[in-house]
């Protein structure tokens, strides 16, 4: 019998301070918390700086359950989640100066599961705004801000060339300034579809589809500016307001019934953020619009594609706005398409890394993670045996195509749903 065991008296429920069995202390004393741990052990001034900001309050509500850590896309390629941010800040780390401030893509997966409603979509812009005002902004992001302020788009392209893409559309694209009559739909094209070569491919496909369907629409052309919402989430609220005022003025110059939007970020901006500035009008993402037209569209989709396609849910269409079905309905309508779902899909869809300013923090994020979120996602698509990674957000085509190259999966094809529909459309070569 081991030394000391005879002293245990179950009826008294006493506990030995030390209990050595075969030379090993099995009492557990060294591993037990005998007093309640109290928050006063910490200097919470760093946490207070965050929670004192309008929008930053909810960081204080975290009770450390770690549900968020399991779903945060950044944690999968790094060390990140609201819980970790809360804990570090509580321990005295200055979030305003920490690289952590710029890693959250505002994808909203944590908020979906958090019992305490700790809301990074509010916290991040609030803290980032202070950092921007204090002048500590990563250089890449600063350049995107400057380009947007100067040129009305984060790509730094001339405003006067915003409508040049229509020359490549292969179908007439009515510009509202010229059509001079009310239209059913105002199509907000967006910056990437107007300027980025791969974005233009999607915009051109949309123009051809709209034309084939006889949609009555017009675009703003050079009167359109970036929506500014991702800049707002990255901390530049003033820039957002400036762009929003200019856009709202342009929207209200013309008569139209509904606005159709190419990108989920822009869709979110017009549906949820512009109303705070007094602009309340019906907004629809292109996937939902085309589903409305599906009875007419389906018979035109005559060319089978014979591809295994997987779909990446954009955070700002899915989680932020609850639209999961429209894109899938469109893909299923294409003959020959076999739709396979990735493990992380729909409500738990992975993030491409482009939201919340991530689009303009490529090198910065890369330096603080093990791989780009887009690269992680591309690997997942390949694991599920997809030929095609289908998307419906203009940020994503360039991100995923680049990631497919950089991970050596060059044979994975990345296409906007618009491009796939266009390809299946009768009469297309």
């Amino acid at each position: 019998m081991a030394v000391g065991l005879d002293k245990v008296k179950p009826e008294a429920i006493t506990e030995e301070r030390q209990l050595i069995v075969d030379g090993m202390d099995i009492s557990g004393h060294w591993n037990r918390m005998f007093e309640q741990r109290v928050i006063w052990d910490y200097d919470t001034s760093q946490l207070d700086r965050v929670t004192d900001l309008p929008g930053g309050e909810s960081l204080a509500w975290c009770y450390g359950c770690a549900k968020c850590t399991g779903v945060c896309p950044v944690d999968i390629v790094g060390d990140y989640s609201p819980r970790k941010i809360h804990r570090k800040t509580q321990m005295g780390i200055d979030l305003f100066e920490s690289p952590d401030l710029w890693l959250c893509t505002t994808c909203r997966n944590c908020l979906r599961v958090c019992p305490k409603e700790v809301d990074m979509i509010q916290i991040m812009p609030a803290v980032r705004e202070q950092a921007v005002l204090a002048g500590s902004v990563p250089a890449e992001l600063q350049k995107a801000f400057e380009d947007t302020a100067k040129h009305g788009n984060p790509l730094g392209q001339p405003q006067r060339k915003r409508a040049d893409w229509i020359k490549k559309a292969g179908a007439p694209v009515p510009v509202l300034k010229d059509v001079k009559r009310p239209v059913d739909l105002l199509w907000y094209v967006g910056s990437y579809p107007s300027y980025h070569p791969r974005g233009i491919d999607a915009a051109a496909a949309a123009a051809r589809i709209f034309h084939a369907l006889g949609v009555d629409y017009g675009i703003l052309g050079i009167e359109e500016k970036d929506d500014g919402d991702s800049q707002r989430l990255a901390g530049e609220k003033g820039l957002f307001e400036m762009l929003a005022e200019a856009n709202i003025a342009a929207f209200e110059k013309y008569t139209w019934n509904r606005m159709v939007v190419t990108g989920p970020h822009e869709f979110n901006a017009f549906k949820n953020e512009y109303p705070k500035l007094g602009f309340v009008r019906p907004i629809v993402h292109y996937t939902r619009l085309l589903v409305e037209y599906l009875d007419r569209l389906r018979p035109m989709l005559t060319k089978p594609l014979n591809l295994k396609v997987t779909f990446h849910d954009p955070c700002y269409l899915g989680r932020h706005n609850g639209e999961y079905d429209a894109p899938r309905q469109l893909l299923r309508a294409i003959p020959g398409v076999e739709l396979v779902e990735m493990g992380r899909c729909r409500e738990n869809g992975y993030c491409c890394g482009g939201g919340g300013g991530g689009m303009w923090l490529d090198s910065f994020t890369k330096a603080h993670t093990t791989m780009r979120l887009s690269e992680r996602r591309v690997r997942e698509a390949v694991e599920y045996g997809a030929d095609v990674l289908a998307v419906c957000c203009p940020f994503e085509v360039s991100r995923f195509e680049d990631a497919a190259k950089s991970t050596g999966h060059d044979r994975l094809i990345v296409r906007d749903i618009l491009e796939l529909l266009d390809q299946a459309l009768e009469g297309q070569p």
Binding site: F145, P158, L239
Partner: protein, 256 residues
């Protein structure tokens, strides 16, 4: 230290520049304007000097576009204390010669110790503003400067030569310095801050005396042969290497 910064707006070079109908200028109405990038550096260096030595920064420009206020508001948001514009019925292509004369008049009453300006601008067809201002004010000038350190009664500056070689000078004040690059990258002025300043800030307006004449004139303006699509060189690597070498020599980059 009383600091002044002379700024000017230049056409936004990301836009296509079009030649005017008479062929001697640009189609100015189709242009958008941005602050001369070197003036941005000069402003940053001025604010850095102020932060190191105390004092104030006054930004001055000629309002040839009618849109100078935006640039002045941005300067205030970046740390300038006063903003001044010289107004009048000026040509959009008012050259450095004319701008320097107007600026000298506006700057003289400021009793500045140090005047910083961008070392050059994309439209300096008749030379840089900085040395002209210095000559008009009777102050010394050093340009292509990448670092200004304030010292009592003088500034210590680093001037850059080709190949990264630097020369250090000590310049007695008052003086004009042409800034090539600030020693820290220009700070970002958040639009929120600029908009707030635009609502409250006072821009001092000075009427420019007359329209200065220019001592040289453009008789023809044109675009160099269009780039757009590359001219392709065929041939073996050795031949292509020869063509590249010839090109580098012509550009003065290959020393024979």
């Amino acid at each position: 230290m009383i600091l002044a910064v002379a700024i000017k707006q230049v056409p936004n070079l990301t836009d296509d520049l079009e030649i005017s109908a008479d062929g001697t200028g640009l189609d100015y109405d189709a242009l958008t304007y941005v602050l001369n990038e070197f003036d941005e550096q000069a402003l940053e260096e001025a604010v850095l000097v102020k932060e190191a030595a105390g004092g104030s920064v006054t930004v001055v420009g000629i309002d040839t576009t009618g849109e100078l206020d935006g640039a002045l508001h941005t300067a205030l948001a970046k740390g300038a204390d006063r903003a001044m514009k010289v107004t009048g019925d000026f040509d959009r292509d008012l050259g450095s010669e004319g701008q320097a004369q107007l600026l000298a008049e506006a700057i003289r009453p400021l009793a500045a110790d140090l005047l910083l300006t961008g070392v050059q601008a994309a439209d300096d067809r008749d030379g840089q503003i900085g040395p002209r201002l210095a000559a008009l004010l009777g102050w010394p000038y050093v340009g292509v400067v990448t670092h200004v350190t304030p010292e009592p009664g003088c500034v210590r500056v680093h001037k850059e030569y080709a190949g990264g070689l630097l020369a250090e000078f000590v310049v007695t004040l008052p003086a004009v310095i042409g800034v090539q690059a600030s020693h820290q990258p220009p700070r970002y002025a958040p639009v929120s801050k600029i908009r707030q300043i635009a609502k409250t800030a006072q821009i001092e307006s000075v009427a420019g005396q007359g329209t200065p004449a220019s001592s040289s004139s453009v008789r023809r303006m044109f675009k160099p042969e269009a780039a757009g699509q590359a001219e392709m060189w065929a041939g073996e690597p050795e031949e292509v290497a020869g063509k590249i070498a010839t090109l580098l020599t012509a550009k003065g980059l290959l020393k024979l």
